[in-house]
Symmetry: C2
Amino acid sequence: MKKTTIYDIAKELNITAATVSRALNNNPRISEDTKKLVQETAQRLNYKQNRVAQALKSGKSNNVGVVVPYINRNFFSNIIRGIEEELNPKGYHVIISQTHEKANKEIDIVQNLLNAQVDGILISISRQTSSDEHFVQVLEKNVPLIFFDRKKEIKGGSSVTLDDFDGAYQATKHLIEQGCQKIAHMTIDLSLLIYQNRLAGYKKALTDHGMTFKPEYVIGLQSEIVAGKDAAQKLMELPEPPDAIFSSTDLGALGAIQYLKEIGLKIPDDFCVVGFSNEPFTQFMELPITSVDQAPLTMGKTAAKVFLEQMDSEGVKIEKNVVLNPTLEIRKSSLKKGK
Amino acid sequence: MKKTTIYDIAKELNITAATVSRALNNNPRISEDTKKLVQETAQRLNYKQNRVAQALKSGKSNNVGVVVPYINRNFFSNIIRGIEEELNPKGYHVIISQTHEKANKEIDIVQNLLNAQVDGILISISRQTSSDEHFVQVLEKNVPLIFFDRKKEIKGGSSVTLDDFDGAYQATKHLIEQGCQKIAHMTIDLSLLIYQNRLAGYKKALTDHGMTFKPEYVIGLQSEIVAGKDAAQKLMELPEPPDAIFSSTDLGALGAIQYLKEIGLKIPDDFCVVGFSNEPFTQFMELPITSVDQAPLTMGKTAAKVFLEQMDSEGVKIEKNVVLNPTLEIRKSSLKKGK
DNA sequence: TTGTAGGCGTTATCAT
DNA sequence: ATGATAACGCCTACAA
């Protein structure tokens, strides 16, 4: 079945394609009669606008590219949900791609998206990413570029991020208020800004409350349960073991909890643990885990809104940096009785 | 900065755009010299193919539409990951949309995707969906239509589904083998085929092992923890309460476990519970939950492969229905000692 | 081996 | 209020 075009409608009505186009686009200087006629015929012939042709003509594809490390991570899939829900009603389609945390892949993807004439790119950079060139190219083509969560400082780019510093600060302060004296910190890849900021927030909370920062209380790991267990073990074997852990990941926190229970510690009485991300499982546990919520849905919606603003302000270049506030979800793993 | 086109390259080299196009597409009847020249100039001028123009010309957009109820459900985001990983290397972009389980939204989305000239649609239908028309339209336009997980029987459509019957059968059989005598079943929306099949598999396993099916042991609920608790309570208040539950969802299973623990039952000694979906949290629990794994990644990859096959077999209409086998992940919640 | 010309479907700019 | 025409960028018969 051939697709029907405006020419088919035109032929049917003995008018010209231009008129049909105008009628369909509600051009004011078309008689109501023809408009009606055209619309009816369009319906009858089952006409559908060809968005590709429109895109070629207008230079606008109505597609935006969204780039993340992995789609199936809870955090990212929530962000994407937010983006889709904000952009779909405005007529945009969301194209998703995964970098697998590889810089090369990211560069390829960005190139491909540009070739596909996307109207904007929303991205959370890969762990490996160090160069800027592909982002510069995006901006040179006047394609809006919005970073979310993991950003790259670049002139002309916008961003929506979480106040990781504050999240870590809240978490640490909460532990202090629970009476914890020796608070350790588990972190991940410190090459990423977000983890640096969490570390910084942790430090600041300590010193703000008259506690000294001890380097040996900071331990790096992969985001896995076993790694969390191992790290906890190392911490507990220190001459002066900690009495609380603020982990930059929930899986790390979970692993730590498992190890601490194994060696007979009572949580939260003997030891408090706080995670980061507020993964779904943290609230399902028998011992629910306190965690910093990153508001991914809001982050996605906000990133989409920033994109829309840029599209609206034709010509005027906007550079907007939104910082969202995290919320500490306090649960059993850090809530001492009587507090 | 204006985009460079093949005309710019042509002008630069005093040749014609057609030659440039051929050179870039590696047309055999172009001299190696010009090819090289063209490629160098393309590089130098930072030329990028315009995929929209190509799409208009060829009728192929190199975009596929993927439609799911919600992107952030673990099951769906894993499927999407599989699809993207399979299709990206082949040069396709993946457009995602969410139906929010609404039939209207689904119809709109499908229309929009068709307007956008997608080369294929991969979809898991909404709970509400009853009509077929939008799918018929897809097939009439010769656009490959592949259902995954939740399908609609329709001539010309392909599908990749899970053998839900078998998953339920395995789960129930496992409970029987553990010595459970009175096995209840928690289900969700029986208007969806998948839940019907799970119920059927449950029944068959019972009768195959000489146990009688009791309607009062089947209880419907929403997929929430509280609903699981309530349902478990109702079951336990029966004159003859069950000694095991096979739940069609993991959250239902979790809720049930929480209630059972509250009333002092020991799991798995007094009571066994099996869930469905193998959500990440099931393995993180202090009492890890046995669950049926749905192999979402494989499902996504398979759906993508089916789509690719259809694209390869130009003209020939293929209708393919793949059924994947679930795996029972046996964990503590159903594993009696000594078994 | 390369050039010419037309068309994919739409819209914007002239005319009429 | 409508028609004619060109253009978006690319590709491909057909010619040369």
